[in-house]
Symmetry: C2
Subunit: 146 residues, 2 copies
Amino acid sequence: MLTRIDHIGIACFDLDKTVEFYRATYGFEVFHSEINEEQGVREAMLRINGTDDGGASYLQLLEPTREDSAVGKWLAKNGEGVHHIAFGTADVDGDSEAIRDKGVRVLYDAPRRGSMDSRITFLHPKDCHGVLTELVTSAAPDVADH
Amino acid sequence: MLTRIDHIGIACFDLDKTVEFYRATYGFEVFHSEINEEQGVREAMLRINGTDDGGASYLQLLEPTREDSAVGKWLAKNGEGVHHIAFGTADVDGDSEAIRDKGVRVLYDAPRRGSMDSRITFLHPKDCHGVLTELVTSAAPDVADH
C-alpha cells in the first residue's frame, strides 16, 4: 500500500546552484547527497516534512552526471522542472507486482537501489497520465547522514 | 515558514478517467472536488498522507474548464503531467512577501482563493529552476467534505 508522497524529483542543470536557490528562498537544507552512477545522477535530498506513516517527504534535486543518462536526455528535451513523483510503501516488491498485474508497465524487472539505500522502481509515464511515477521502500526512513 | 509538501498539481484531459486511474491503480480516493471558475479548472484532491505540521499532502488532479485557462494552455503545449508543486505554510501572506523581497516573482499581488477555501499564490517558474511553485495556507487542514 502506498502511504505517503515520498519525494518530488526535480531535474536541474547545476545541482549546487539549485540547492542554494532552495536554501536561500525557502530555508530548505540538504538532508543527504550522493552520486548514483547507475542512474547517472548527482542528487541532493531536501527533507520538507515528516509523514504519518513514520517516513518523510523530500525534494530530490537531480543533476545528470552524463548526457546519455535518463535525466540528462530528459533535461535536454524539457529543460529544468519536475521529472518524477514518488510514493512511499513498505513493500515495493508486492506493490509493483500488483500494479504490473493491472497492466501498468513497470520499468524494472525487480526493484533497484535508490537514494539513501532505498529500493525503487518506476512506472511508465504513458500508463500514468503523463507522470513518471516511482515507488520506493526506504531503508532507514527519516535518519539524516549529517 | 514552509512546513510541508501540500500537494502536487497534475494536469489531465479527463478528470473522471484520471481519478479512476489513481483509484484503480493505487487505491487513492477523492477527498474533495470542486470547480474553480477563476482558475478555469475542475479538480479533485486525493489525500495521500498526514504531515507533522498538522496538515496533509494531496495529489491535485486538474482538468481545464476552458481552453484559454492557464492549465488549458499548459496542457495544449505539454500534454498531461505535473503542472505545479505546492508548499504549505501557516502564513502565505508573510512568506510570499519575504520571497518577493528576495527577487522571486510572485504572480498575484495578494493571495487568492484555492482548493478547500485555502489561500494561495504562485511563484514564477523561470525564477524557480523551471518549477511552477504554489504557496498555500489551508483554511481547515485535513477535514474531508464527505
